[in-house]
C-alpha cells in the first residue's frame, strides 16, 4: 500500500514540476505596444496518511481496522509584473502591504512587551531599597 502512496507523491511532484513554469509566469498580455507578464510565487502541499490495526486476540478475516485521510492545498501570491515596451523592460514589484503591516505590528507588540520588562527591572535596580 505504501508503494502506491509513494508513487502517488512522485506523480504529484512530477506533474507540479512540469506545470510550475506556466503557473509562475502568466500568459503575456499585449495592449498596444506594451506587453505585461504577471509573475507569481506558487506553493503546493499535499499530505496523506493511512493505517491498519490488528487488535490482539482478534486475528482473523474482518478483524482488521483500516483508515486513512489526506489533504492538499495550493497558494499563489503575486510577486511582480514585467512590463515590456519596444524601448525597455521594467519589473514592477508587487508589495503586500497588509501582510507587512501585520508583521510589523506583531514585531512591535512583541518588542514592546519584552523591553517593558527590561525597563521595569532597570527602574527597580535604580530605586534605593527602603
Amino acid at each position: 500500500m505504501s508503494d502506491i502512496v509513494s508513487r502517488f507523491f512522485q506523480v504529484f511532484e512530477e506533474s507540479r514540476a512540469s506545470a510550475s513554469v506556466q503557473a509562475v509566469f502568466g500568459p503575456p498580455e499585449t495592449r498596444g505596444e506594451v506587453t505585461v507578464i504577471p509573475v507569481a510565487a506558487v506553493r503546493y502541499g499535499v499530505g496523506f496518511g493511512m493505517g491498519a490495526n490488528t487488535p490482539e486476540g482478534t486475528e482473523g478475516a474482518g478483524a482488521q481496522g483500516l483508515g486513512g485521510g489526506g489533504g492538499a492545498g495550493t497558494h499563489a501570491r503575486p510577486v511582480a509584473v514585467i512590463e515590456i515596451t519596444p524601448t525597455e523592460i521594467k519589473v514592477h514589484p508587487i508589495i503586500d502591504y497588509s501582510r507587512l503591516i501585520m508583521a510589523g505590528v506583531c514585531a512591535l507588540v512583541w518588542l514592546t512587551f519584552l523591553w517593558s520588562g527590561v525597563l521595569k527591572k532597570f527602574i527597580a535596580s535604580r530605586t534605593p531599597a527602603r
Binding site: V5, V21, T35, A41, G45, A80, V118, S125
Partner: protein
C-alpha cells in the same frame, strides 16, 4: 537545468518555454524547492504518513533582444525580503533585550554583594 538534493529537500532551477514578444524572446527561469517526507510502521501497527511541499519562485528572466545579446532581468520578491528584514530586526531586538536583562541581573547581584 540544475538540481541539488539534501535529505528530504530538493532544489532545482528550471528554464521554461521561451515567450516571444515582438522581436525579443523571454526565457523564464523558475527556482523550485520541494520537501518530501515519509514515515512508516509505528510500533506494531502499520501506519504510513507522507507529506510533500513544493514552492516555485521566479528569481529572474533572461531576455534575448538580438541573437547573441542577452540580458538578465532580476525579479525581486520585495514582500518576502521586507518580511525577512522585520523578522531579523525582531530577533536582534529580542537578543538585545535578553542581554540587557542578563546584565541588569548581574549588576544587581554585584551591587547587593558589596559591603
Amino acid at each position: 537545468m540544475w538540481h541539488m538534493r539534501c535529505g528530504p529537500w530538493r532544489y532545482r532551477v528550471e528554464r521554461g518555454d521561451p515567450i516571444q514578444i515582438g522581436e525579443s524572446w523571454l526565457f523564464p527561469i523558475v527556482r523550485i524547492w520541494s520537501w518530501r517526507r515519509r514515515r512508516a510502521r509505528i510500533a506494531s501497527q502499520s501506519l504510513t504518513a507522507q507529506g510533500a511541499l513544493m514552492e516555485s519562485i521566479a528569481p529572474m528572466a533572461v531576455v534575448l533582444e538580438r541573437p547573441g545579446e542577452r540580458r538578465l532581468v532580476p525579479i525581486l520578491d520585495l514582500t518576502r525580503l521586507l518580511l525577512w528584514a522585520i523578522g531579523g530586526l525582531c530577533l536582534a531586538g529580542t537578543l538585545r533585550a535578553l542581554a540587557a536583562r542578563r546584565s541588569l541581573h548581574l549588576l544587581s547581584r554585584s551591587a547587593g554583594g558589596e559591603p
